[in-house]
């Protein structure tokens, strides 16, 4: 059994950090669930355990050395940044080749590629993979090596529910022979958990019984529901109607991704766009935003009775929050958008004390909450959100859900991609499901 010694780590240029006051034991096998609010320092702890300080994360470390698993395999949050090779097959064999397995041994692991739904993709360019597919590829590649220690940072964030269930089954088998440290906000992971490490809002790490952590989050959630933070949103600037008719979406006319016979969205409505990984969800949003041209068909948006280009009335909150930031500090970003009371605005989104930080230095979850402010401040009537609850703990996911509901009440129209069934059920007026290369529109049943 390995031991994580007591240590203290402070981020460069800030007073915040994480602190382990007493050593924690790392078992040879089992699943450790690393929990805490988004931005608490969970990814930082994984980086330290892997030994990526000081080359890749900057700050001051004192006390013991937390780099107890330098040979561990580590799946980070954004899968595309971890891909090295040009083709799926080459990427899959990356870790096995470095373990110096023989080609025939490597070949026996190809079944894992099939298990993760990538059997027919061996020669496909990795640049064409969706987030979910890229995540599956990296997971398959890592699991093929039978790792002894595996560090997983939100490994199921972009997986569809079926793939997620399959992954948890694989994890159940894997943890019998390996130690897995998992950051995951999905409750389906709970039955697999052997140990829970919790990082509180002050960055203090301690071991908690799983039941106690669940009680803690339940209490927080109940408190949040009893005393919800109010979102006072201005009404949508105009009433809009979005009509999509005979639309064909994709990159290549000979091989389109899918078609849309007819879909309509009006102010105050929310459409949840779903489909398997790689079915073309992000491609549709990119097409609406004007990043891609439709292969054929029409996109018609009317605002207060006048036909306008969709991008005039639209704000698109990307999966990659970094693409939204242009200024040195969070305060500057908000001031450019006309905010006068920066601290109060940030508090409403759980981003207290972030005003003077660079937006690029926030955690992935904090960045996402910051970008959700932009549509309100830009006064756009059509809001497109790509995985808005990705990387959020239960409390912040609850706040985001309520924010989306507030958007609807204020007359905004929304299109949301999400794999989160709770969010889906809470916000959807329509479900746009991509199946068999067609978009089906399913109206929500009003209860």
């Amino acid at each position: 059994m390995n031991c994580l010694p007591a240590f203290e780590f402070s981020y460069a240029r800030t007073a915040t950090g994480i602190h382990l006051p007493a050593p924690l034991s790392l078992p040879a096998t089992g699943l450790i669930w690393l929990t805490g609010a988004s931005g608490a320092g969970k990814s930082t702890l994984l980086n330290l355990i892997k030994g990526l300080h000081p080359e890749f994360i900057h700050g001051t470390l004192s006390g013991g050395n937390p780099a107890i698993a330098p040979d561990a395999l580590y799946l980070s949050q954004n899968p595309h940044t971890q891909i090295v090779h040009e083709r799926v097959g080459e990427e899959f064999f990356f870790s096995l080749e470095h373990r110096q397995d023989s080609p025939s041994e490597m070949h026996t692991h190809l079944k894992l590629l099939a298990q993760f739904g990538l059997a027919d993709f061996e020669m496909m360019p990795t640049a064409k993979l969706s987030h979910g597919q890229a995540q599956r590829l990296l997971l398959a590649s890592m699991l093929a090596t039978d790792p002894k220690v595996l560090l997983l940072d939100e490994p199921t964030a972009f997986l569809d529910p079926q793939m997620r269930a399959d992954f948890y089954r694989t994890l159940h088998t894997l943890k019998q022979n390996a130690c897995v440290i998992l950051i995951d906000h999905h409750r389906e992971a709970v039955p697999l958990v052997d140990i829970c490490w919790y990082i509180n809002e002050r960055g203090v790490i301690r071991e908690l019984p799983v039941a106690q952590y669940l009680d803690l989050t339940s209490t927080e959630l109940e408190h949040e529901r009893a005393h919800p933070q109010s979102f006072t949103l201005p009404d949508a600037p105009s009433k809009i109607t979005l009509n999509l008719s005979n639309l064909v979406i994709g990159y290549d006319k000979k091989n389109p991704l899918f078609s849309i016979a007819h879909a309509t969205l009006q102010s105050g409505e929310c459409a949840v766009l779903c489909g398997d990984n790689g079915s073309g969800k992000s491609t549709l949003l990119n097409t609406l935003a004007g990043l891609l041209k439709p292969l054929s068909g029409e996109i018609d948006l009317t605002a207060s009775g006048l036909s306008v280009k969709p991008r005039v009335q639209m704000m698109y909150v990307f999966q990659h929050p970094d693409s939204h930031f242009f200024f040195d500090t969070v305060a500057e970003e908000l001031t450019q958008l006309g905010v006068t009371d920066v601290p109060a605005t940030l508090t409403q989104f759980g981003l207290d004390h972030c005003a003077k930080r660079s937006p690029h230095q926030l955690s992935e979850g904090q960045k996402r909450r910051l970008t959700l402010l932009f549509p309100i401040l830009l006064k756009k009537s059509l809001i497109i959100l790509d995985e808005p609850t990705f990387g959020q703990d239960a409390l912040n996911a609850e706040r985001i859900t309520r924010l989306i509901q507030s958007f609807k009440s204020a007359g905004y129209a929304l299109i949301v991609i999400t794999h989160d069934p709770v969010l889906h059920q809470a916000i959807a007026d329509q479900t746009w499901r991509i199946r068999h290369q067609h978009l089906e529109v399913i109206e929500a049943v009003v209860t």
Binding site: H80, L96, H98, P103
Partner: protein, 245 residues
């Protein structure tokens, strides 16, 4: 299917062929031919030799899978890009004589053919496969090869990121001065991508001490590809001799 490639000093055991082995000419051979062409153009050869060599490479591009349309488009683009040099040589000359005009035409021709071939080269060969080939032969260290692989791979990601950043700036209604700040997120993306790329190699099990690895795919040339490369090279030599003598 088990495939075993034999080298002079190296016996390589792989399981499957990489796509590079199914192309008419091996990409590493094409890269070598292109390098010879660029050296050749710098030599004092007759203008018609340069033209013939460029045409031969256009045929090679067609053989490697480019369409004639794509080849012609690149020729037009090369002419467009090179035209200013001809204009420069015609305008900024003390006295315009038949000799200076001839020289300006010569320079235009060489620059155009070089640009044309350079523009075609991106489609004629896959550099990432050439890197894997060199790594498999042991001509590149893993540190260099993976840095190159990540660099080539980041081009597509960078393109997508730039599209997102431009859209984000437009949707945010940034003015022209603020739009100029777009370089900031692009630069940050490039820096972060470089860091994450290096980090991902460590994260996925590559160590500074890693010196050896096995290969699942075979990136080496086939006998047929070697034969095709020799035939093409001999043809080029014959064409040069026919034009120069």
């Amino acid at each position: 299917m088990m495939d075993t490639a034999r080298f002079n000093t190296l016996r390589l055991n792989t399981h499957s062929n990489a796509p590079i082995r199914s192309r008419p000419l091996h990409d590493a051979h094409v890269l070598g031919i292109l390098m010879l062409f660029f050296i050749g153009v710098a030599l004092p050869m007759a203008w018609h030799t340069v033209v013939v060599l460029a045409l031969a490479l256009a045929i090679l591009a067609r053989i490697q899978g480019m369409t004639w349309r794509s080849i012609v488009i690149r020729l037009g683009l090369a002419l467009l890009l090179s035209w200013s040099i001809w204009l420069w040589n015609m305008v900024f000359v003390a006295e315009r004589t038949p000799d200076t005009i001839h020289k300006a035409n010569q320079i235009l021709l060489r620059v155009t053919t070089m640009t044309w071939v350079a523009l075609m080269s991106g489609k004629m060969l896959n550099l990432r496969d050439v890197v894997s080939f060199a790594l498999q032969r042991g001509w590149l260290s893993m540190n260099i090869a993976y840095a190159l692989q990540l660099g080539f791979g980041s081009i597509e990601l960078m393109r997508a990121e730039i599209r997102r950043i431009i859209l984000s700036a437009t949707l945010r209604g940034l003015n022209w001065r603020e739009k100029f700040l777009q370089w900031l997120p692009i630069l940050i993306f490039a820096l972060r991508h470089a860091t994450r790329g290096a980090m991902s190699l460590r994260a996925r099990g590559l160590h500074a001490s890693s010196a050896r690895k096995t290969f699942y795919y075979n990136y080496q040339s086939t006998r047929a590809q070697k034969r095709h490369a020799w035939v093409f090279l001999i043809t080029l030599v014959i064409l040069i001799l026919m034009n120069e003598i």
